[in-house]
């Protein structure tokens, strides 16, 4: 009753009540928004933070991820190996070899700092989220499991139509063009000699 008086003076008495009925009736005829998750997989955004994948071929054991992790949930073990000199008479080089890389997802807060901070593109977000376990210890994913998640990492989203070329592709193209030009010049010289 009181609501009617507060609504616009032009409103017919009870028009607010009728409007309310219309809203619910209209909603009933529309599709409901309920996600039927176990039956229907959710439509996830491309950059969904589901689980972290490790591309271990790129990892140099620089430890930046483990150090930056606010939860200290990344465990890395490694040892050094010496590599024989590339050329005879050269110096031996030492190289880090990864022994263990594990992320404890029971501690992880999915901030993504490790992925941001990795200078060698060894860590990636994957949208997979169905890795619940009955034992909390199972949530510590070791390197083989983290490597498996890499297969679920989606392609990076396409660039805008007018966007600049990514730097590494530009550099690679420059080198390729230079090589091709050299090759062409050499060919031209050879054919010129033949003629």
């Amino acid at each position: 009753m009181a609501a009617d008086k507060k609504s616009k003076p032009s409103g017919f008495p009870g028009s607010g009540l009728a409007k309310g009925l219309a809203v619910t009736l209209r909603t009933m005829t529309k599709r409901s928004v309920t996600a039927q998750y176990p039956d229907v997989q959710p439509d996830l955004a491309p950059r969904t933070r589901g689980v972290i994948g490790l591309f271990e071929e790129n990892c140099t054991v620089c430890m930046l991820c483990a150090r930056e992790c606010p939860d200290w949930c990344i465990y890395i073990d490694s040892h050094k190996e010496t590599v024989p000199p590339a050329a005879p008479g050269g110096r031996e080089r030492s190289r880090n070899v990864l022994d263990r890389f594990a992320i404890d997802f029971s501690l992880c807060m999915y901030c993504g700092i490790c992925i941001e901070v990795c200078p060698f593109d060894a860590l990636f977000w994957s949208p997979e989220f169905e890795y619940a376990e009955t034992d909390i210890r199972e949530l510590t994913h070791e390197r083989d499991k983290l490597r498996e998640w890499m297969w679920t990492v989606p392609e990076p989203p396409a660039l805008d139509p007018a966007a600049e070329e990514p730097k590494e592709i530009a550099a690679a193209r420059k080198t390729a063009d230079k090589l091709a030009a050299q090759q062409a010049a050499a060919d031209a010289e050879n054919s010129g000699e033949d003629a």
Binding site: G20, L21, T24, L25, T27, M28, S32, T34, Q36
Partner: protein, 321 residues
């Protein structure tokens, strides 16, 4: 022998209707309310769109422990659900569904009987509220009592208008003398009767006696298990009875545009179903009234309207006769 068989069949039919129709209304409420809120409602129980949800609920309630609070008035506490539920069964037996005596028990003072017994149903809530030894239950019970006092009067006045128009108190008799123009003639009475009935059933937007945000669950706070389920069933049985009664008194029951001979019962059911949908729709749409607004609505709006209807009925009756 055939008389006894006749009685058994009638009672059985009423009993089956009493068990099935409230569940149908309840399931409809689940689904309609869900879709009006952009949800899906129950989807798993029974396999197809959760049709067996209320059966599953019943099984769940039956498994629960039946607790009586230590300080409660045991006898009254345990009796209350039956007092709340059984009157609706009795009322259902007196509501005609089709022409030619298609009624559980035809009564000469049917309208009087129906309204009197429906009032008893509300006593169940008052008993429950009083016997629970719980302040919230007591508040709920007192609110129920206040609501019953306020809304019984407009309901009776509106029903009296129909009885005046028909010149009889028998429900089949009222329907026998029904004409289509009674619907606009008794429209005000119909609205008053329906709204007052809604309030008597304590359905939203008149659910202050069970207002969960204020007094837990009113008179039913201390109930568990099967007794609680009986109160819920009473609410839905009440919806069925109120809708059937409104359609019989004001919408012409078995009278329809066509098929009045063979399909009369279908018209009654159809009108009842539409009214039940309306009750669910109102519940989803409107928020609860405040206790003082509730009383104000009854005493300053519904009762004057009912009196206007009676005056109108009297004038038309005198002019046409």
């Amino acid at each position: 022998m055939s008389d006894a068989l006749d009685i058994v069949v009638r009672l059985l039919a009423v009993f089956v209707a009493f068990l099935v129709l409230p569940l149908v209304v309840g399931q409809t409420e689940h689904k309609v309310m869900a879709h009006m809120q952009g949800r899906l409602g129950p989807m798993y129980a029974g396999g197809f769109h959760g049709w067996a949800q209320l059966v599953a609920d019943g099984v769940k309630f039956a498994q629960k422990e039946d607790i009586v609070p230590a300080g409660a008035d045991r006898r009254v506490f345990q009796l209350a659900p039956a007092v709340g539920l059984l009157p609706y069964l009795l009322v259902l037996a007196a509501i005609p569904i089709g022409p030619r005596n298609a009624v559980g028990q035809s009564l000469d003072a049917g309208l009087f009987f129906v309204l009197a017994v429906m009032g008893v149903g509300v006593l169940g809530s008052i008993m429950a509220g009083w016997a629970s030894a719980n302040k919230f239950s007591l508040l709920g019970g007192l609110r129920t009592a206040a609501q019953l006092l306020a809304y019984e009067l407009p309901m009776l006045l509106a029903a009296a208008s129909v009885a005046m128009a028909a010149g009889t108190l028998s429900l089949p008799g009222i329907l026998d003398s029904f004409h289509w123009w009674w619907v606009p003639w008794q429209l005000i009475g119909a609205v008053v009767f329906f709204v007052a009935g809604l309030a008597e059933l304590q359905r939203p937007p008149f659910d202050m006696p069970v207002a969960d945000s204020e007094i837990i669950f009113g008179a039913y706070t201390e109930y568990t298990g099967l007794r609680f389920a009986l109160f819920l069933l009473a609410e839905y049985a009440g919806i069925v009875v109120l809708c059937a009664l409104t359609s019989v008194l004001f919408l012409g029951g078995w009278h329809g545009p066509f098929g009045a001979d063979g399909l009369g019962w279908l018209w009654t059911l159809l009108k009842t179903a539409v009214l039940a949908f309306l009750i669910i729709w109102l519940r989803v749409t409107y928020p609860r009234l405040r206790e003082d607004q509730l009383q104000k609505l009854a005493w300053t709006v519904l009762i004057p309207l009912a009196l206007v209807q009676i005056a109108l009925t009297g004038v038309v009756k005198v002019v046409t006769s």
